[in-house]
C-alpha cells in the first residue's frame, strides 16, 4: 500500500492524539499557569526612579508581584520602557482622526494622545489605534472638539532585558540600557519553566487531604452508582420484559423520557429540588413530618453524597433499563417455556435462565457505566460543584469532588486559573489510576478473556 494512503490518518493521529498527550506530559513537569503563562505582564509595570549601569531602582517593588514566580524575579525576562510626552500641533480633527502638522519621529511607538478640550476646560486622554503619516486614528473620539494647538503624544520605546538579581527595590539587569534611552518603567514577563517533579511532590504531599479521600469517594461513587442503577434497571427491565404485562410499551416510552432532556437543565432542576429552604424534596419531607427540620442536602457531606447518587440514579436509569431490555430481548423465549415445563417458578426462571444469560451482556454495560461515572464531571460540577467544604479536605478537594473535578479545581480555579502544570500532573496520575482500575475490572470480570473453542 502506498505510504500516502495512510498519511492523513498519521497526521490526524499526531495532531489530535500524540501532540495533546506529549503536551500534557511536558506541562506536568513545568509550572505553567495563568500567573506564569510566558506572556508580558502589563499590570506589573512599575516606575523606575534611578538607573546606574545595569542596576535600576524601582519606586514600588511590590508592583512587580515577584512572589508568584518560582525564583522571585531572578532570571526573568523584563521589558524596560521609556516614555516621552511630545508636544505637537495638529491642523485638523474629524471623526476620531487627528491630522498633525508634521509626522511623528520614526522608531518609537505612539501610545497615547492627550487632547485639551476648551469646552470642558481639561485634558482628554485616549489610546492611539493607528498612525498613518500625519494622520492619527484615536481609540476613542473626544466628546468635544479638541484644541489643535495643545496636543500631547506619548511616545514609547522599549528594550528587552533579563533580571539577574533582585534585592528589594534594586534590580540588576543582564546588560546596560542603550545610550540615550531614558528608562521610565519596567514590566516583567510571566515566566514559566521546567520544575522537575515538583508538581507531583506537591500533589503527593497533600495526598492525605486530597488525592486519597477524593479517589476513595470517586471509586465508591462509581461502584455505588453502578450497583444501584443496575439493580433497579434490571428489576424494571425484567418487569417490562414480561409479554403479558399490559401497557408495557407505554411504560417503556414514558421511562426513557428523562434521557431525552439535556442534563445541563435537569441537573439544575434537581439542584433546585434539593435546596434547603425552597427545594421540593424538603417541602415534601417536611409536609408529612418525615424529618423534624429541613435537610441541608447540598451543604452536609453525607447528604450531598446521597443526593449525588439519587440524582445519578434518575439520570442513569433510562440508559440502564434500555440496555438491559435490549439484552433481555436476546434471550430466547423457548428457554423460559422449557423451564416452565420443567416446573420452574418465576423466581427459579429468573435465577436459572435470566441471570446467567444476562451476566454476559451486563459486563460491558456495567464496565462502560463505571468508566463513564468514574469521570462524571457534569453531574458533580452542576449539582454540588464538588462541595460542601469539609474539614479533611482542601479548597480544591471537597466533600463530593471526584478526581476529574478536583483536577479541574486545581487547574482552573487556583494559581490565577489555568494552572496547566499542576492540572497536567493530576491528569497523568488520574490516567495511571484509571488504567489500574480498568485492568483490575477486566481481570475480575474476565471481559478480555478470549473464548476457547477447543
Amino acid at each position: 500500500m502506498p505510504w500516502y494512503y495512510v498519511l492523513p490518518a498519521i497526521v490526524f493521529l499526531l495532531t489530535f492524539t500524540f501532540f495533546p498527550v506529549l503536551l500534557t506530559i511536558w506541562l506536568a513537569f513545568t509550572d505553567y499557569a495563568g500567573a506564569r503563562n510566558g506572556q508580558l505582564s502589563v499590570p506589573t509595570t512599575t516606575p523606575i526612579v534611578a538607573v546606574d549601569g545595569t542596576r535600576i531602582t524601582v519606586s514600588d517593588p511590590a508592583g512587580l508581584n515577584c512572589e508568584v514566580l518560582r525564583n522571585g524575579c531572578v532570571d526573568v525576562r523584563a521589558e524596560v520602557y521609556s516614555f516621552e510626552l511630545l508636544a505637537v500641533a495638529a491642523v485638523d480633527y474629524a471623526d476620531g482622526v487627528l491630522t498633525l502638522a508634521e509626522p511623528l519621529p520614526r522608531g518609537r511607538e505612539a501610545r497615547q494622545a492627550d487632547l485639551f478640550l476648551p469646552d470642558l476646560g481639561f485634558d482628554f486622554s485616549t489610546s492611539i489605534e493607528e498612525v498613518d503619516g500625519v494622520e492619527i486614528r484615536l481609540g476613542r473620539a473626544p466628546p468635544f472638539p479638541p484644541d489643535l494647538e495643545r496636543v500631547g503624544i506619548q511616545m514609547a520605546d522599549e528594550v528587552d532585558r533579563r533580571i539577574v538579581a533582585h534585592d528589594g527595590a534594586l534590580l540588576t539587569l543582564d546588560a546596560p540600557l542603550p545610550g540615550g534611552f531614558e528608562a521610565t518603567a519596567i514590566a516583567r514577563y510571566n515566566e514559566y519553566g521546567f520544575i522537575g517533579l515538583r508538581n507531583f511532590t506537591t500533589i503527593l504531599s497533600r495526598a492525605q487531604r486530597s488525592l486519597v479521600p477524593v479517589f476513595a469517594w470517586n471509586v465508591s461513587f462509581a461502584v455505588l452508582t453502578i450497583l444501584i442503577n443496575t439493580t433497579i434497571g434490571v428489576l424494571l427491565a425484567v418487569l417490562l420484559n414480561n409479554p403479558d404485562l399490559r401497557f408495557r410499551n407505554l411504560y417503556r416510552t414514558l421511562l426513557i423520557v428523562p434521557w431525552a432532556l439535556p442534563n445541563i437543565i435537569t441537573i439544575q432542576v434537581w439542584r433546585g429540588f434539593l435546596n434547603e429552604n425552597f427545594g421540593v424534596v424538603n417541602r415534601l419531607l417536611m409536609l408529612f413530618d418525615i424529618t423534624p427540620e429541613p435537610i441541608n442536602w447540598l451543604g452536609v457531606e453525607l447528604a450531598a453524597k446521597g443526593a449525588v447518587l439519587l440524582v445519578n440514579l434518575w439520570l442513569g436509569l433510562p440508559f440502564m433499563m434500555t440496555a438491559v431490555l435490549g439484552a433481555l430481548s436476546a434471550i430466547p423465549r423457548e428457554l423460559y417455556e422449557a423451564a416452565k415445563i420443567d416446573g420452574a417458578s418465576a423466581w427459579q426462571g429468573f435465577w436459572g435462565v435470566t441471570a446467567p444469560l444476562l451476566r454476559t451482556a451486563l459486563i460491558p454495560i456495567t464496565l462502560t457505566g463505571f468508566a463513564f461515572n468514574f469521570n462524571n464531571f457534569n453531574l458533580i460540577f452542576l449539582l454540588t460543584d464538588g462541595g460542601p467544604p469539609v474539614e479533611w479536605g482542601t479548597a480544591t478537594a471537597r466533600g463530593t469532588d471526584i478526581l476529574i473535578s478536583w483536577a479541574y479545581n486545581e487547574a482552573f480555579r487556583s494559581q490565577g486559573g489555568y494552572a496547566y502544570g499542576l492540572g497536567s500532573a493530576i491528569s497523568i496520575l488520574i490516567f495511571v489510576i484509571t488504567v489500574a482500575v480498568s485492568l483490575v475490572n477486566f481481570r475480575v470480570t474476565g471481559a478480555l478473556k478470549e473464548e476457547r473453542n477447543t
Binding site: 418487569l239 432542576v269 429540588f273 425552597f278 421540593v280 415534601l284 409536609l287 413530618d289 418525615i290 436509569l317
Partner: protein, 183 residues
Amino acid sequence: MRQPHRRAFVWMALAVAGTLLGVWALVANLPEDVVRDRFVVVPNGWIFVLGAFALLVFGTATTAYCYGLATRPGRATAYALTSGTHMFIWGVILATFYPVLYLLAVSFNRNDTLAGALPSEGNLLVRAGVIPNPADFALVQYEKVLSQTHIQALQWVLIGLLVLAVLGIVGIKLAGRVAHLPA
C-alpha cells in the same frame, strides 16, 4: 381446572369500596397543617401517607385477586402480582416525571420560579409548594420567547415546504388506504 367464582365479583366490589373508603377516611382525618420554619407541616403526616399507600397497594392487589377468582381462578395470584407490578411502575414513572413536569410548570409560571414564597390558599399540596399553584399559570415566558423570535423569509419558505411535505406524506398514506379498501 378450577371453576370461576362468580361471587368474587361482589368481593371485588367490596375491596374497591373498602380501599376507597379507607383512603378517604385517612385523608379526611389528616391533622390540621401548621407552618414550621417556612414549611407547611402536617404533624405525623407520614403515618397517614404510609397507611394510605399500604391500603392502596393491598386494596388493588386484593381487587385484582378477586377479579382473577371471578374470571380465571388459576391466575388469581398472578393478577394480584401484576397489579403490584403496575403500581410499582407507576410509582417509578411518577418519580421520573416529577422533574419533567416541574420543568414544564416553571415554563408556565408567571414568576419564572416555583421556589418563591408559598401561597396561602388552595389545596394542601399547593400550599406546601409540592405542586404548582394554578393561580400562577401564565404564558408570559412563551410570549417573551416568541416575541424575541424573528423568522426570516427563507425560514418561512422552509416551514412552508415542511408543511407541504407533511401534508403530502399524509395524503399519500390516505390515498394508499383508500386504494386498498375492499370494493
